[in-house]
């Protein structure tokens, strides 16, 4: 990983990936939320 230098100062960047591991059992148990449908993820961001 390269750390970029800007005006001689090292800038640290990080990418966060939010992940919810699933099985078919998780999908079966999932309650209906949001707009009255069943999303893949219980933490749909909108």
């Amino acid at each position: 990983m390269d750390v970029p230098l800007e005006l001689g100062v090292a800038v640290k960047e990080v990418l966060l990936s939010f992940y919810e591991k699933k099985t078919t059992t998780d999908l079966y148990k999932k309650p209906t939320v949001g707009k009255g449908k069943d999303p893949i993820g219980k933490d749909n961001w909108g």
Binding site: M1, E13, L15, L16, K21, T23, L27, V33, I40, W45
Partner: protein
């Protein structure tokens, strides 16, 4: 989605989205932290794609993202971006573009067509963007944009994340995989 196409196919689509996200993340040349919802899996497809793995902490999505951003800033990171694993059209260009935007802006956001967002980035700690949201509803994007009214923000192109069967129609390549 599971209600429309069944559990097995819904899980198949979900895993395709995760796999695609992992491939894209691997190519991004920054530090990469994977935050699991429940437990850390040391032997999954993310091995080799990310720098470290952690568990999300908090009672709602807002709290969990806030804690992850806070930790990032506390650890000395200057620019932090979060993504999910439900975007088929994710690519390295959009992530690099988001990091570039944070060079001279306080925030960057990738709007989703359903009224949420697929990407959020900050170059400084702005706690209100994680508070008071009705997560999982179409008000999340507008409410978050309001939180940036006293800060500078770049909006990326709108993309369609994949939550429902209807979303597959906007991603024909993904839809075709169901028939293979």
């Amino acid at each position: 989605m599971a209600k429309t196409i069944g559990d097995e196919k819904a899980l198949f689509i979900f895993n395709k989205l995760v796999s695609k996200t992992s491939e894209v993340v691997e190519k991004v040349n920054v530090h990469k932290s994977l935050y699991y919802s429940d437990f850390v899996d040391d032997q999954d497809i993310w091995e080799g794609s990310v720098s470290d793995k952690s568990i999300q902490e908090g009672n709602c999505l807002g709290e969990r993202m806030a804690n992850a951003f806070k930790k990032g800033f506390d650890d000395g990171f200057n620019r932090i971006i979060v993504i999910g694993t439900d975007l088929w059209n994710l690519d390295t260009q959009i992530i690099n573009k988001a990091f570039a935007a944070l060079k001279n802006k306080d925030g960057v956001i990738g709007p989703a067509t359903d009224g949420g967002y697929y990407l959020l980035g900050l170059s400084k700690w702005i706690p209100q963007v994680f508070d008071g949201k009705n997560w999982g509803t179409s008000s999340v994007l507008d409410d978050t944009l309001t939180d940036f009214k006293n800060n500078t923000l770049v909006q990326l192109e709108t993309k369609n994340d994949v939550d429902y069967f209807e979303d597959l129609k906007a991603n024909p390549e993904l839809l075709q995989l169901l028939d293979q």
